[in-house]
Symmetry: C2
Subunit: 379 residues, 2 copies
């Protein structure tokens, strides 16, 4: 038996095939995978890829000054393991890939993978103060994927819901709820996968920095029932038409909120509801706060692709908001919109926090914003 | 703005980089990705990969006679899109990858990806009778990931739990529970990702073929708190030692079952408990049924890496079992074990179903088994 498995393993290695499936159930007879990647040592990180027949192998990473164009050459070493050692980037979660003879290749040694839309990307997690809440805490909340029925959009739709540690053990306790919205290209898994929501909330709650809360992450694409990974065909409708404009925001405020308050132990009061969203989801956040000014006492547009008139903001101010947290990166292509919103809020003497970070339209910033505003909610 | 984005897109294409992250939020100005892969047309399927500078591009797929060694050459076409058209394999869910100059590459056009252990693999889903329950049903159950506290194993551990459609809407209804165990190399996401449990149960329940039930998928590796994707270090202990042998099975039967019956609306009776598992999980299934003969009225070892003595089976028969469903592929390397178990059960006049399928130690078989035995449970 062992001999057969060794042969299978050998032909696997030769073909460069990664058909794990049933092979995962085999014992490779002590054969160690020799390649370690990425390997962080002190102030450097080394990336490695075994590529026997490649001509040019490069590394591309989101920490690079021009992450979408730039690459670094890797050097062929012993055993055709290509390698490059670079100075460790600042603490953050980065994504990277190899480029083998012009084709993007994920790191087969790295199990830490994010999905962004249709793309799977290996992560490089650089430890430090900035990322201390992005790893696993000791106490874990529960992540679930219930489906709510939308009469407005015409089908059942998948949600991601985080309930905090202790939710199961305290069956009488009720919790406040944060509605957390993704950007264009994202879906109901974006904040969990790229945003590290479960890890950030677990850590903040375990440290006593944030109130235990439920976090609801809907799918903000009205044509989608669920993330495209599930293979459900999308509905082809002009969602920007007069008839369907705000259909998703209406579904959020009149269908998702009631669904959550019926099926989870949520406190059904404005003072226990927060809404936050990035980019397109920042636009949804602004729209929801304007269309339903009584619903949320905490409103957090992040790098928002959205706008509001002074009249709308005045009405929101009158309805009462406990926290208006406006955040944007100082090189974000939407930065001017944030500046304009900040000015409008100032003109109205609308109390708010304006949080400007370094950098642009990035998940590095959105994780930072969540880690920053979550402790301010429901207090 | 549009011009800048076009430049970004162009440099993205040139570098072959796949840094989706924030790019997912951009509109590429109507630029269509020209490559479609895989493309099923009538009786064929075409795979395509754009690879400008590659020398040799091959395709490797789990439908091939020697899936771990075999590959098919692809041909360079217009625009450096490599292509191969093959006869459509029989209806099933397959995995595949490209091999570019010797390096395994996932299909960047295919969002349907399975994770097996540390490996991500694109899926080819061939429609047909065999796979009709593997796609999305209309009515969806909820998949959640609660953590249970294990005193036996010394930490909190992550579960996957499926609750059927209607669970939220019928807050007084109680459900039977299937405990569904993965094999070596798997984790608490294996049955959901590769086994299509949610889809299979959704379809069977929607068609009235199976009772609405809860399905609990624990992590069967006692050294793991959760799937390795979460990055929690493993506990290094000799789990086969006298002290720790059966530690996981004990945790399953004395910790997970009570956790589920406390926190979910489960019917806490043997007639409403089933246990099934594949390979190593088949061994766990046999062990659990022997060590706790009163606990489960339905016992389903699948391609099981496990065994029981006639005395143990006699005790189980005496305790009473409503269904003993033994399944294995006729070319599985564990087939003789299934044959031996079948003979032992016959010798004891232990009523059981013996389900022998074509093929070996594969997820194709394990999906088939789940689809076959789930309708027989709790009736």
């Amino acid at each position: 038996m062992k001999r057969i498995l060794t042969l299978v393993a050998a032909s696997l290695a030769i073909a460069g095939s990664l058909h794990a499936q049933e092979l995962a159930n085999f014992n490779f007879g002590g054969r160690q995978r020799p390649v370690i990647s990425p390997e962080i040592q002190n102030d450097s990180v080394t990336f490695r890829l075994k590529a026997d027949y490649a001509t040019i192998v490069k590394l591309s990473g989101s920490w690079m000054p021009n992450p979408y164009g730039g690459t670094i050459d890797m050097q062929r070493g012993e055993n055709n393991v290509w390698e490059v050692k670079i100075p460790l980037p600042e603490p953050e979660i980065y994504t990277y890939n190899f480029v083998v003879d012009g084709v993007a290749v994920n790191d087969p040694q790295n199990v830490y993978v994010q999905r962004d839309g249709t793309r799977y990307l290996p992560m490089l997690i650089v430890p430090g103060k900035r990322t201390e809440n992005y790893g696993e805490a000791t106490q874990h909340g529960t992540v679930s994927h219930p489906w709510y029925d939308s009469k407005i959009l015409g089908y059942a739709r998948r949600l991601t819901v985080y309930t905090p540690y202790g939710y199961e053990a305290n069956p009488k306790k009720k919790y406040p709820v944060l509605y957390l919205l993704h950007g264009a290209g994202g879906d109901e898994e974006a904040w969990i996968s790229m945003g590290r929501t479960a890890q950030i909330l677990d850590n903040l709650i375990e440290k006593g920095l944030a109130e235990p809360m439920i976090v609801v992450m809907p799918n903000g694409n009205p044509g989608q029932q669920a993330a495209r990974t599930l293979g459900i065909p999308e509905k082809q409708i002009d969602w920007r038409s007069e008839q369907f404009r705000n259909a998703y925001v209406n579904s959020l405020c009149t269908e998702i909120v009631p669904f959550i308050e019926k099926n989870f132990r949520a406190i059904p009061k404005p003072a226990s509801r927060a809404i936050a969203g990035l980019s397109m989801g920042g636009g949804h956040t602004i729209s929801a706060s304007i269309l339903y000014p009584e619903l949320f006492d905490y409103v957090c547009p992040l790098s928002a692709a959205g706008d509001a008139t002074p009249e709308q903001l005045a009405a929101l101010k009158k309805a009462g908001v406990k926290l208006y947290f406006l955040a944007c990166g100082n090189t974000d292509f939407l930065f001017q919109r944030a500046e304009d919103m900040h000015a409008k809020l100032n003109n109205l003497n609308f109390p708010h926090e304006y949080f400007v970070s370094e950098g642009g339209h990035t998940w590095a910033n959105w994780r930072l914003y969540l880690n920053t505003f979550a402790p301010k909610l429901f207090k």
